[in-house]
């Protein structure tokens, strides 16, 4: 768990982060969302002391981060960067093993853990002896994640981790990332400017602007109960798409008067999003009626949410 209290950072008189406070919980992905220059990356980097704040405190599991040496602190925090940050003169094997080496793990332990992560991140074993520049962007980012996960730290910080990837690769990695068991017990803070990514991955979202957090809450809270016009305008462009994606079929169940059996017929499950279900149904003419029913149910659900 990370607790941030009235954190402030100024650069040459300009306030980059303006007395913000928030909390990131265990077993949660907290997304810091905002346009560039809003202070989200500065906030993230203060958590592992890459940047030292001017004032305010940060506690990790109740302990101030200033209590230990910066290097010790950082070894206990996984960090993923936008451009993978892999070392060009190290093989993938060496890149993954940087932190174990700093922690003086035995070669056997390192190798075992490396193999484990390769499998979980869908990387083949033959990348190990290659150099970063020989890998595709998606592979490099997976290696970057493996490197951050290897020491199994309770906290993981991610700075625009998928920002440099093309849309298709990004979608693939998003899916894998969400299903990673490794993340389940961690406190993850992820910085992004991509609204869809924020909704795809975040359990809670903190929308930042001008060094301040404008609103922090669950995805539903953010989209259905915007605190002010800045928040609603921020999502205006993606609003409908986000709502469809956010709503699972199970949430629509009360509004599906004739629930029917389209779920079984079309290979859908209750946990799928409405967006996913509608897309699937729209490709098959025989499901035209189901499509209409689902749309209707969504309309009614939405009315109840907005109030």
């Amino acid at each position: 768990m990370i607790q941030v209290e009235s954190l402030t950072k100024r650069y040459n008189g300009k306030t980059a982060v303006d007395s913000i406070s928030f909390q990131a919980n265990e077993q949660e992905i907290l997304v810091l969302l905002g346009t560039s220059g809003c202070g989200k990356t500065t906030t993230l980097k203060m958590i592992n002391r890459l940047i030292e704040p001017d004032s305010g405190t940060i506690l990790i599991d109740g302990k101030s981060i200033r209590e230990q040496q910066a290097e010790q602190l950082r070894m206990g925090i996984g960090f993923v960067m936008q451009h993978s940050g892999l070392f060009p003169h190290y093989t993938i094997r060496q890149n993954i093993a940087v932190v174990p080496k700093l922690l003086k793990w035995s070669p056997k332990q390192t190798e075992q853990r490396t193999q484990e992560l390769l499998e979980k991140l869908h990387l083949s074993e033959d990348v190990l002896n290659r150099y970063p520049q020989e890998l595709s962007g998606g592979q490099q980012q997976r290696v970057g994640i493996a490197r951050a996960l290897i020491a199994n730290t309770p906290v993981l910080l991610m700075d625009e981790p998928f920002g440099a990837l093309d849309t298709i690769t990004k979608a693939d990695i998003h899916a894998e990332f969400k299903s990673l068991q490794e993340l389940k017990n961690k406190t993850v803070v992820l910085v992004t400017h991509d609204v869809q990514e924020a909704f795809e991955l975040g359990h809670r979202i903190a929308l930042m602007d001008n060094g301040k957090i404008i609103q922090i809450g669950t995805r539903e809270e953010i989209i259905y109960r915007p605190k002010n016009s800045f928040v609603s305008e921020f999502f205006a462009e993606n609003r409908l798409l986000l709502e469809y994606k956010l709503t699972s079929i199970s949430a629509l169940m009360p509004y599906l008067h004739e629930s029917g059996n389209f779920l079984n017929q079309s290979n859908l499950s209750e946990s799928d999003s409405t967006w996913h279900a509608l897309q699937k149904l729209s490709t098959d003419k025989t499901h035209a009626l189901d499509y209409e029913r689902l749309s209707q149910a969504f309309g009614e659900y939405r009315k109840s949410q907005i109030r």
Binding site: N48, L50, E71, Q72, L73, R74, M75, F79, M81, H83, G85, L86, F87, P88, H89, V98, V99, L102, R147
Partner: protein, 522 residues
């Protein structure tokens, strides 16, 4: 006489050549190694503390611009002669490229990678050794490469301070008019530079990982270098000999000492410019010098008597092409005004004035002419220009200045001086190719260096000064169309000299005494 080929020279001198190459490599490697030891940490320091970057790079840059000979000169008061001053001077030359490239290499590492490594928990030291140095290595190696090539070149000058190396052949060859000797020094030096450059390039390509093997290589290299420097100094005699490169290769020099006197020694090869001072300070005990040198008085040295006559007479006289004399009527008369005017002691005195009272050669020349009633108002005529050359030592500068005033005062010719031509060979070639019209030469040099006749002829004509003069004058006219004008009067012969005090305490007055002393000591 058949000309010796380069190959024959190399075969004949292979032992000397081999030891010179070893010395050259030793100087280069040791200085390079020390420069890396100093330069890389300095580069790292200024990369971390950027405020220091400009002053440090500035100072290294200024040191780099000091002419190499001057730098070697500065080293002598501090480090004496031998390998030490040479290595320090070479180190200074190698510093700038190494510091600069280390700095550029480290500051050029992608800051994202630095952030990434920091975020993973590396401390400054781990960051330096794991990330910054390996990534900067190609740039640093390029700097070392530059430094290595510079050092191979500058190390040829190490022979000026008795540090050995291929410069012994190169500068000996220039003084002795021996092209083979020059090439035997210059070609290996060039090859060494290329070889070293390629070796480091190979190392550069094979990457940072291969540097591990260097850990093994460096102690071996240092051991070799140490052996090179300890071994020659393990000479038996306790007298330290220092001879000029020219003296080393001449019949009337080291060769004569060996064959006529039977003196077998391992002298240090040292430049004329520093030899006397080194002798007075006890860095050297026996040196080769010139009998008219002003420094003999200053440093209280004793000229050893040449009791077996190996040093032939060296009467100075201007030499000039016959056709040039015909082209400039009246020139000969002006030059002959000086004939017989300067004795040994007078010349020594004039030399003393330039070398130690720091008077300019022009001032000394003017005073001399005034005292002897020879100075005349400059005529500023424009009947033509005479070009006078000189070798690179004080006496010749004075003679040239005197001749300039004599010619411009007594004829309508203008004089252009080309002083400081490296050695006998350079002066003579300049004259033969009409780059200059005349220069003062010495009969002994003409005989032994330029004509190089058979041993028998040498013995015959070197017994008497007049015979030597007549022989060289006749031979030069015949072979080159060059005439020797009337001698100026003094005899600037080669001589061995020691400190007065030491010579007295050892009871040495002549070269034979020296030989006896050496025999007893062994």
């Amino acid at each position: 006489m058949k000309q010796q080929s380069l190959w024959e020279f190399v075969v004949e001198q292979h032992e000397k050549l081999f030891s010179q190459i070893l010395e050259h490599l030793g100087l280069t490697f040791l200085s390079l190694f020390l420069a890396i030891l100093v330069g890389v940490p300095l580069g790292i320091l200024i990369a971390r503390n950027r405020k220091l970057a400009n002053p440090v790079l500035g100072i290294a840059g200024i040191l780099q611009t000091v002419p190499s000979i001057a730098l070697l000169g500065f080293m002598i008061p501090a480090f004496g002669i031998g390998a030490t001053p040479a290595i320090v001077a070479l180190l200074i030359y190698a510093l700038l490229p190494i510091i600069r490239n280390t700095y550029t290499g480290i500051t050029g590492v992608n800051p994202l990678l630095i952030e990434s490594a920091t975020a993973l928990g590396m401390n400054k030291r781990q960051l330096l050794f794991n990330i910054q140095l390996p990534l900067a290595m190609p740039v640093i190696m390029a700097g070392i490469r530059t430094a290595a090539v510079i050092n191979v070149g500058v190390a040829t000058l190490a022979s000026f301070v008795a540090a050995g190396g291929l410069g012994e052949f190169i500068f000996g060859g220039i003084s002795l008019n021996n092209t083979n000797m020059i090439l035997a020094g210059a070609i290996p030096a060039a090859l060494l530079a290329i070889l070293l450059d390629q070796c480091i390039a190979l190392l550069q390509k094979s990457g940072y990982a291969s540097l591990r093997y260097l850990k093994l290589g460096i102690p071996i290299l240092l051991a070799i270098v140490a052996v090179i420097y300890v071994w020659p100094s393990a000479s038996k005699s306790d007298l330290k000999f220092g001879f000029t490169p020219e003296f080393m290769g001449r019949q009337d020099g080291d060769l004569g000492l060996r064959s006529v006197y039977g003196i077998q020694i391992k002298p240090k090869v040292v430049s004329d410019a520093i030899m006397y001072k080194a002798a007075s300070e006890g860095e050297l005990d026996v040196i080769s010098g010139y009998s008219t040198d002003g420094r003999i008085q200053v440093f209280d040295l004793l000229v050893l008597e040449d009791d077996k006559n190996i040093f032939p007479p060296y009467y100075a006289a201007p030499i000039i092409k016959t056709k040039t004399l015909a082209k400039f009527p009246g020139l000969k008369d002006a030059l002959d005004l000086l004939a017989g005017k300067i004795s040994d002691s007078l010349m020594r005195d004039l030399n003393y004035k330039t070398d130690f009272q720091n008077l300019t050669p022009e001032k000394v020349a003017k005073d001399f002419l005034t005292e002897n009633g020879l100075l005349k108002e400059k005529r500023n005529g424009n009947a033509g220009t005479i070009r006078i050359g000189s070798k690179i030592f004080g006496e010749q500068y004075i003679l040239v200045a005197i001749y300039k005033m004599l010619i411009e005062g007594n004829t309508d010719y203008q004089v252009e001086t080309k002083t400081g031509l490296g050695g006998t060979k350079i002066c003579f070639d300049a004259l033969a190719n009409d780059a200059i019209d005349l220069y003062p030469e010495y009969t002994g040099t003409g005989l032994l260096v330029l004509l190089n006749p058979s041993q028998e002829t040498i013995r015959k004509v070197s017994q008497h000064p007049d015979k030597t003069y007549d022989y060289v004058n006749a031979a030069f006219k015949k072979q080159y169309g060059i005439e020797w004008l009337q001698p100026i009067g003094f005899n600037n012969a080669y001589a061995l000299m020691m400190r007065q005090k030491q010579a007295a305490s050892l009871g040495i007055r002549s070269i034979s005494d020296l030989k006896d002393y050496l025999d007893k000591a062994n």
